[in-house]
């Protein structure tokens, strides 16, 4: 082997080691070999670039050394998306493990959790093993499967959680569908304690949602589209929090979209319930107004809500109520979205815009970059029990280099994902990943430009 990579002069942010300053990182054989902090961020302002460049570099022995000049750029631990739909097996026309993991890498992610709503459903170890095998063969990043809570995701009978856990599932969820039966949810929360893995709950009361396709409110009335009330989500968030309290199971609330849910989770955390929560970039970046012209690319479950909800979600991220920013990357084929609004499937292709949209929170002063790394890497790793999201010596060399000053135009046609379904097409985002290193492999797409 002997392949080495030296990332020079990047601004390294690694909350796991409390690093926030300019330095060099040496990678050898896919592992972090050495990390050398040269200056803290305060010192950096006083010292000219030349001095940094001429300061003593790391000990370099490898003959095949690749040097990456990261001056002026940030170097972070690789991001972890704990909510992705890879679609394989069964829906390879929407996305495959190959294209989905490539999209992840382009978005700055080095690991993702794939949801079980494939065909067949990932409700048994065979499917789990299939996913891992395909990942080994074609995956660009780490993939951690999430197994189904119930057989066939029908919400009726527990799936073989233990066998799937043994095969590599890191969490369980019926995502895409809620577990409507409270007793089944109770059992899932109880049983998953054995493996100490979280139950990721898609909170939605299907009776209250009925056939809704957007947020319920005056806009849904005006557009003549059937609304999904906030209560549809909040009723289930409340139920699951109460069940988590009852069972002392580990509950993770997926894709929080409403102010009411944020408040319920905040109170539960204060009460000591073992609950964590995620939201997605679209829930803090845009509102229901995005569906005004019946744009099916803005059709998503749960639906885009109001400005009040957006503000509450930002506050939840700021105060720590919401632990994680996940993508809920849900690629669909163009033909599926090119339909009647009622018939078009829900979902946003989110991997390649997540970091850019989340950096807006840094710009707004809601999160520091360090906190952003916690929401997009450290916390997901902690919740899922993954020993990653760190640039410690000896760890897998998973890192992302981003430029927070450069402006990027979102162009869905250039996505690595097969899903071009995004309401952010044409947006100009300040700050994007420019290079990702996963398991020591460098993905440097900016060179092609």
């Amino acid at each position: 082997m002997g392949s080495s990579i030296l990332i020079k002069n990047g601004h390294i942010i690694d909350p796991s080691q409390g690093i926030d300053g300019v330095g060099d990182i040496l990678i050898e054989d896919g592992k972090i070999k050495e990390i050398k902090k040269i200056r803290s961020s305060e010192d950096k302002k006083k010292i000219k670039n030349e001095e940094i460049l001429t300061s003593q570099p790391l000990n370099l022995l490898s003959p095949q050394l690749k040097i990456i000049d990261a001056a002026g750029l940030y170097v972070l631990p690789g991001l972890i998306d704990m909510h992705t739909h890879l679609r394989e097996p069964g829906f390879e026309y929407k996305e495959t493990i190959k294209t989905g993991t490539m999209a992840a890498v382009m978005g700055g992610f080095t690991a993702l959790c794939c949801m079980p709503n494939t065909n067949p459903v990932n409700d048994n170890e065979t499917v789990t093993e299939f996913i891992l095998r395909r990942t080994y063969a074609e995956g660009a990043c780490h993939v951690y499967p999430v197994g189904a809570i119930t057989k066939g995701q029908t919400g009726e009978e527990l799936a073989e959680l233990g066998m799937m856990h043994d095969a590599g599932c890191v969490a369980f969820s019926d995502d895409g569908r809620p577990v409507m039966n409270g007793l089944i949810m109770r059992r899932a929360l109880e049983y998953s304690r054995i493996f100490n893995v979280p139950i990721i709950s898609h909170c939605e009361d299907l009776d209250l949602s009925e056939s809704g396709v957007m947020n319920e409110g005056s806009l849904s009335t005006i557009l003549g589209l059937k609304g999904i009330p906030s209560a549809s989500e909040e009723v289930m968030v409340a139920r699951d929090i109460i069940l988590a309290g009852l069972t002392r199971g580990r509950l993770h609330i997926a894709h929080v979209s409403t102010a009411g849910s944020v408040e319920l989770i905040r109170r539960a955390k204060n009460d000591g319930v073992d609950v964590t929560a995620e939201t997605c970039p679209h829930y803090f970046s845009i509102t229901e107004d995005a569906v005004k012209n019946y744009d099916t690319n803005a059709k998503v479950t749960p639906p885009l809500r109001t400005q009040r909800d957006v503000e509450a979600i930002k506050e939840g991220l700021r105060d720590g109520t919401i632990d994680v920013i996940a993508t809920d990357h849900a690629p669909h084929h163009r033909d599926e979205k090119l339909q009647e609004f009622d018939r078009a499937p829900s979902g946003i292709s989110g991997l390649e815009t997540a970091l850019g949209l989340s950096l807006r929170l840094v710009e707004e002063g809601i999160l520091t970059i360090s906190q952003l790394v916690e929401k997009m890497a450290i916390n997901p790793a902690r919740i899922l029990g993954l020993n990653m999201a760190t640039l410690k010596v000896g760890a897998d060399a998973d890192a992302v280099i981003m430029d927070i000053n450069k402006e990027f135009k979102v162009e869905s046609k250039k996505f690595a994902s097969m899903g071009k379904n995004t309401p952010f097409d044409g947006w100009v985002l300040k700050g994007m990943p420019v290079l990702t290193i996963c398991k020591g492999k460098v993905f440097d797409w900016m060179i092609d430009e």
Binding site: S218, T221, G224, L225, D335, Q339, E340, F341, D342, R343
Partner: protein, 304 residues
């Protein structure tokens, strides 16, 4: 203007232009020869994904009286489930070289979707629970015909407002013309439309006091048993229009209904046939208004 997708998208000026133009077309309809050559050589397709005899017939007559060539394309939504996509259907129809597409669909927003994907002029003949703009235009025309203007009138809209595209289009239109709008019906069927300055009444007797016009809406039998109201009997008792209730309104109040009526459910038979009823005038005016709309939408392909 290329398309008519909804009243929401129209300005007051354009609505006035359509209503004034419709007056001329109403004169044409009184002649022995009711056909004019205005749109000779143009092709219209009536693309109905939802069954409708009345609206389709009204459009077809309007189209024929403007000398267009008419193509009827009826697709029951159920068969579309297995068949080609809406996008393909529309592209195919455009390839026939049509100038106008009159579209009715059970999904809201379909006219907008089509208008954005074809060069032909798109006319919304009712989409989901969104809008039915030509119905609102013909209703306004009918009211003006009897009352002189819309300004300052008190108009009650009674029934299932929530699911009614007719009610919505009427609310958007009337609110632009200084009309006092009252929505009457069960609380489960009245959405929050305060931003349009409407008053809401759950008590019909109270709501009908001193109104100049009563627009009855068709109650969809399917809503029964879904928790919106317990039974048609209870509905008629509380929100059906009978002769006794009609007396609460102004003496010269007019009674309107977009059809088809459920006699004995939302409207008593004697009310439907009484002198105050303008239900049949609405049918006639529908043709004139639709002719005006088609005439005013330029059929020029590259007109954006």
């Amino acid at each position: 203007m290329k398309d008519l997708v909804g009243i929401k998208e129209l300005s007051k000026d354009v609505i006035e232009l359509i209503l004034n133009t419709a007056l001329s077309f109403k004169d044409v309809l009184k002649r022995d020869i009711k056909k004019v050559p205005a749109l000779r050589g143009k092709t219209v397709v009536n693309l109905f994904f939802e069954p409708s005899t009345r609206t389709r017939t009204s459009f077809e007559l309007a189209e024929k009286r403007l000398s267009t060539d008419v193509l009827n394309f009826s697709v029951p939504t159920s068969s579309v489930v297995k068949g080609e996509s809406l996008f393909d259907t529309v592209k195919t129809i455009e390839a026939y070289g049509v100038d106008y597409i009159v579209i009715r669909h059970s999904s809201s927003g379909v006219p907008h979707f089509i208008a954005g994907n074809v060069n032909a002029s798109v006319i919304n003949a009712g989409d989901g629970t969104n809008e039915h703009p030509t119905q609102a235009l013909l209703d306004a025309f009918s009211i003006i015909e009897k009352k002189g203007s819309l300004d300052g009138l008190r108009i009650a809209i009674v029934g299932d407002i929530l699911h009614s595209r007719v009610a919505k289009s009427n609310i958007y239109l009337l609110s632009m013309f200084g009309t006092n709008i009252r929505l009457i019906g069960p609380s489960t069927l009245i959405p929050d439309m305060r931003q349009y300055g409407v008053e809401v009444f759950y008590d019909m007797d109270e709501g009908l006091r001193d109104v100049d016009a009563i627009m009855m809406l068709r109650i969809q039998m399917e809503r029964q048993g879904k928790g919106f109201f317990p039974s048609t009997q209870e509905y008629f008792k509380n929100w059906g229009l009978n002769m006794g209730r009609l007396k609460i309104a102004k003496r010269d109040a007019i009674v309107m209904h977009p059809g088809p009526m459920n006699r004995g459910v939302e409207i008593a038979s004697d009310v439907a046939d009484c002198p105050q009823s303008v239900i049949l005038d609405q049918v006639t005016n529908g043709i004139a208004v639709r002719m005006a709309v088609m005439y005013l939408l330029s059929g020029i392909k590259d007109n954006g």
